[in-house]
């Protein structure tokens, strides 16, 4: 079996409220093999960011992780004490966020912010850390790196800031990079540049967990994709398999919406209904209320995530085992 950079097993995370626990992440298992880009896709509020934060150990109170294992390079880190967990952040696993405009400290020079990551994990002088930061700026394609390093965040464009974020995440050469909607706030040309940069990082040996609600981004970049719905994985497959043979009605709905956009048809194909309230999920399949193919048992019994072909799983009673598998 190929070595896994990240193996999350049965992750659960929630937010306690007066009306009960919001189960935002429910039994989510994700594998990121070494040297690959794995995507998580799903609509807003389905728990993508919460999953990423749980893996990083960056839950924002009152949200908390309630169960599961997180294996990073063969070691379960979920139950490590915070000190040891912290030592891994930035050195073995890094994360970049959706909003490059607000993710950098406004009163600190960007070079310093990258150098800070170096000095947290390597015992080097300030000059050496600054030098490595500039080097990293060059590596992520920031021209005029030395003078840009002396800029404050507000002096840089969104694309440059996201490059700074990537430089900061990569400066200690982590094995795993988690990118939570890294291009959502950027315009398309800048998005393409950032995606190319991420591909290069992957080719240089970094495994990437890419979170997006944009199927186009997923299709361009990922090797393997997880589809999330209402806190659960509902389908997972290699990227080509997923786009050619989507097995879950939700995935099909997502793909239809995109392709009807691309066809420029009269009507946009949408998925009916709205995301269910996480406090009051239906008894059976979470998607049953919005599903065109819903049957009696769908409303009563939560389907298992079943393997329907090698490397292709779906959480649907009606998903057929593929004949040719």
């Amino acid at each position: 079996m190929e070595p896994m950079t990240l193996r999350a097993v049965g992750l659960c995370a929630g937010i306690p409220t007066q009306k009960g626990e919001i189960r935002a992440v429910n039994d989510v298992s994700i594998d990121v093999p070494a040297g690959s880009i794995v995507g998580i896709v799903g609509e807003s509020g389905c728990g993508k960011s919460m999953t990423a934060r749980a893996i990083m150990g960056l839950m924002r109170s009152p949200a908390r992780m309630t169960g599961g294992e997180i294996w990073l390079n063969g070691r379960d880190i979920a139950r490590l004490p915070e000190r040891q967990r912290r030592a891994l952040r930035g050195s073995e696993m890094s994360m970049i966020f959706q909003e490059p405009m607000t993710s950098l400290n406004p009163v600190m020079k960007v070079g310093r912010q990258v150098a800070e990551a170096v000095r947290l994990h390597a015992n080097v002088s300030r000059q050496e850390a600054d030098r490595r930061a500039v080097e990293m700026f060059e590596a992520v394609g920031i021209s005029d790196a030395a003078s840009r390093a002396r800029c404050y965040p507000h002096q840089l464009s969104g694309g440059l800031r996201q490059r700074v974020m990537i430089a900061m995440a990569m400066v200690c050469r982590p094995k795993l990079l988690i990118a939570d909607e890294p291009t959502t706030a950027l315009d398309v040309t800048v998005e393409a540049q950032i995606l190319r940069l991420m591909r290069n990082l992957c080719d240089a040996g970094t495994s990437i967990l890419l979170i997006s609600h944009n199927l186009g981004v997923i299709a361009q970049l990922c090797d393997y994709v997880y589809v999330m719905y209402a806190g659960r994985i509902v389908e997972q497959a290699g990227v080509i398999k997923l786009f050619d043979h989507p097995a879950h009605p939700y995935t099909r709905g997502l793909l239809n919406a995109v392709s009807s956009l691309r066809r420029g048809g009269e009507r946009l194909d949408t998925i009916n209904g709205v995301v269910p309230n996480l406090l009051r999920l239906p008894e059976g399949c979470s998607f049953s209320l919005r599903c065109d193919a819903c049957e009696a048992r769908c409303a009563q019994e939560m389907p298992e995530l079943r393997e329907i072909a090698p490397g292709h799983k779906a959480r649907c009673h009606l998903a057929e085992r593929e004949a040719w598998s």
């Binding site: 990083m56 030592a87 952040r89 930035g90 966020f97 400290n105 406004p106 507000h154 974020m165 995440a169």
Partner: protein, 307 residues
């Protein structure tokens, strides 16, 4: 940046002149003849008229004002009617005491206020948070004279730890500084707490955590630096209000400062002295605002560049 500071400076001068003019006019339209008051009940009309002419009070008001401004620029604010000494000399003597009191009060207010604000934010909704916020609410809502008298009663009268009034030694400044600074300490603590809580929710705090910073480092290096921006502005304003003379505190603790001088000027209908103290207060407030603005510009790179 230089340009905007220059602009602010010119604005400050204009404000100063405007306020001076207003004080000048107001003091001349209030009823009552100051010369008569100064000379006492038994002065005859002739003497009063001679005196009025000597002081230039019979001239048209714009002439009086122009002369006043020109004299003031040379550091001459006239002679106090009630004390017979140059106003500048009286104010210089009083300013030393006011300055010492203001510095002591500011030191108390800021050290205590910032420390309590940080602890309250870190221990949000904890025991210390409630305790400190309770104290700061007291400080913000209790009138100064009440705090002052309570402190005198407990620490001077009852416990004999500190002198009840007067500033013969540094110990004399402790109670007045607390009485005067408590209010500022309360406001600073509340502002530090709320901005810090707000800053700790910002995305860049997550970024700092994601690169492996621990909680203390995040607090000091990332959160405080940002949270202090509005706090600094508040502190500059407080300094100017502390410096412009604490009428009540100086009176309760018998400290011969600017505030007390102003009280004496009012009760003695001493126009030059009152003018001097009022002008001084204006100057300090205007300078305080100027300081607050330039502090913000120095500390916040976003403003530094735009300007």
């Amino acid at each position: 940046m230089k340009q905007s500071l220059l602009r602010r400076f010119i604005q400050a001068v204009i404000v100063l002149l405007g306020v001076a003019l207003m004080i000048f006019i107001m003091l001349r339209v209030v009823p009552g003849n100051p010369v008569a008051t100064m000379m006492g009940e038994h002065a005859d009309i002739d003497t009063i008229q001679r005196m009025t002419a000597e002081l230039g009070l019979d001239q048209p008001i714009h002439v009086q004002f122009a002369r006043y401004v020109l004299d003031a620029l040379r550091g001459d604010f006239g002679t106090s009617y009630s004390m017979g000494k140059p106003v500048s000399q009286l104010m210089a003597a009083a300013f030393g005491n006011t300055l010492a009191l203001a510095v002591a009060a500011a030191l108390f207010a800021w050290v205590v206020g910032i420390a309590c604000g940080i602890v309250a934010a870190v221990r949000k909704n904890g025991l210390l948070d409630h305790l400190f916020m309770g104290f700061s609410l007291l400080g913000v809502s209790m009138p100064v004279f009440m705090v002052a008298m309570l402190l005198q009663y407990v620490f001077a009268y009852h416990l004999h730890w500190l002198p009840i009034s007067g500033v013969d030694s540094w110990k004399g400044y402790i109670l007045p500084a607390i009485a005067l600074g408590w209010n500022s300490a309360g406001s600073v603590a509340r502002l530090v707490r709320s901005t810090l809580l707000d800053v700790l929710q910002q995305d860049y705090i997550d970024t700092a955590r994601a690169k492996g910073r621990g909680q203390p480092g995040i607090l000091v290096l990332h959160a405080l630096r940002n949270a202090m921006l509005p706090v600094m502005t508040m502190m500059a304003m407080q300094l100017s209000s502390l410096l412009s003379g604490a009428v009540i505190t100086e009176t309760v603790f018998s400290i011969n400062g600017i505030g007390r001088l102003a009280v004496q000027a009012i009760s003695g209908r001493d126009i030059p002295l009152l003018q001097g103290t009022a002008l001084f207060t204006t100057l300090v407030v205007v300078l305080g605002n100027l300081l607050a603005d330039s502090l913000y510009a120095v500390l916040d790179p976003r403003i530094r560049r735009e300007a």
